[in-house]
Amino acid sequence: MELDFSVVIEYFPRLLSGTWMTMKLVILSIVLGAIVALPIALARISKNPLISGGPFAFIFFFRGTPLLVQIFLVYYGASQFEVVRESFIWPVLREPFWCAIIAFTLNTSAYTAEIFRGAIQAIPEGEVEACKVMGMTKVQMYRRILLPRAFGIVLPAYGNEIILMLKASALASTITLLDLTGMARTIIARTYTPIEIFLAAGAIYLVISIAVIYIFRLVEKRQNRYLGTLSIKVPDKG
């Protein structure tokens, strides 16, 4: 079987439109995920089990189950119920795009929360004590020192998370979205040239990942010029 890359050229514009959908999915869920993650991370750090219990369970569920299951639960699972279909959230839930965003956001926020938590807890105890002896309140301590400090630590792990999210977004294709993978699969349904089209799609993903890695390296370099290297263990996603 010879490969025929002319189909790639022919369908390239459609692959690009899939790429755009992928970008929208990733950017939106990463941004929303970060916003959701911060309070979860802070609650998770609390020594009070009443406060940290919920976030713990949330993080555990979303990190412990496949994203594919999570998407199906949101998309097919929720719509099974009449109540949901008649409620005010249905206009959102009926859209596969928003279902994907919801699943991705919840998923990435669980991972991001762990990254934030790791970063905050990686700050050497002495630096925290330096805040305390100065008479800072908890709020001042977090706002002025710990969160800005954590930002620098978080970078490598967070860059990783974005790439993992980019790749995980391929699962949107399973709920009718024409993201890059979905578009590739649709094209293949017509042309029966899986290898050519998948390779092309893979190459596009690769280019985006490499761009993300590159950007993060740059930012990191700037950050760590002064910071030295303090990094945390990265929880990976699946």
Binding site: M1, T65, P66, V69, L73, K167, T181, S209, P235, D236
Partner: protein
């Protein structure tokens, strides 16, 4: 076990497939990871290039796509290689083999980085202490370095295994009868997606918990004597 409209047994069968898939991929991935790390740390440029190429590609392409490419592509590639040698029969790459290949490759790429970090974390003095005894390099690697690498790498590898466990769900897309696929079949028969996907989720969660316990046990064993007692 719940009856689940008669699909309970099938889901359990799916779980068994999922576990087999995960363990087989783990074995493949660990070997690839060690080879990859050794290649990256070797002084041989072409080996470094190959290893870098491998990890970059695999880590930049969605796992779903890797599974699809291997599934549809590997057979073609294998057969065209075989036909060069005059062998023209069909070479079977079933969903299981494709899954193991794709997930093993993925695991291996990430494990390469974990092992590389661990190898580099072994102080130079550990090597030197073996060298000055006149120890053979291979013996040094297996008796002195590897046991320590293993300890350092374990948390990272454990993490990767949890990822792998969840990635097995992707192989359902090419028709492997794992938990996810069985859940899909159950959904199409019963029209109860919420129930079955939730059950699937908890099955994965259970597998995750068991894996975490195993990893924890291994970590404890491996760090025997390494923390001040």
């Amino acid at each position: 076990m719940l009856d689940l409209h008669g699909f309970g047994d099938q889901l359990l069968q799916g779980a068994s497939i999922t576990i087999q898939l995960a363990l087989s991929s783990l074995a493949v991935g660990l070997i690839l990871g060690l080879l990859g790390a050794s290649a990256k740390l070797s002084n041989i440029k072409p080996l470094q290039w190959i290893a870098n190429f491998y990890t970059t590609i695999i880590r930049g392409v969605p796992e779903l796509l890797t599974v699809l490419i291997i599934y549809f592509g590997a057979t073609t590639v294998l057969m065209s290689i075989a036909s060069v040698f005059g062998y023209d029969e069909y070479i079977e790459i079933g969903p299981f083999a494709a899954g193991v290949t794709a997930l093993g490759l993925t695991f291996g790429a990430y494990a390469t980085e974990v092992f590389r970090g661990a190898l580099q974390a072994i102080p130079k003095g550990q090597h030197e202490a073996a060298i000055v005894l006149g120890m053979h390099p291979r013996r040094k690697f297996f008796r002195i370095i590897l046991p320590q690498v293993w300890r350092v790498a374990l948390p990272g590898i454990g993490n990767l295994f949890l990822v792998l466990l969840k990635d097995t769900a992707l192989v359902s897309v090419v028709g492997l009868e794992d938990i996810m696929r069985k859940a899909n079949v159950a959904v199409s028969n019963t029209k109860e997606p919420f129930l079955f996907y939730l059950v699937a989720a908890f099955m994965y969660l259970a597998l995750t918990i068991v894996s975490m316990a195993v990893v924890h046990y291994l970590e404890k064993r491996a760090s025997r004597g390494l923390t001040r007692g």
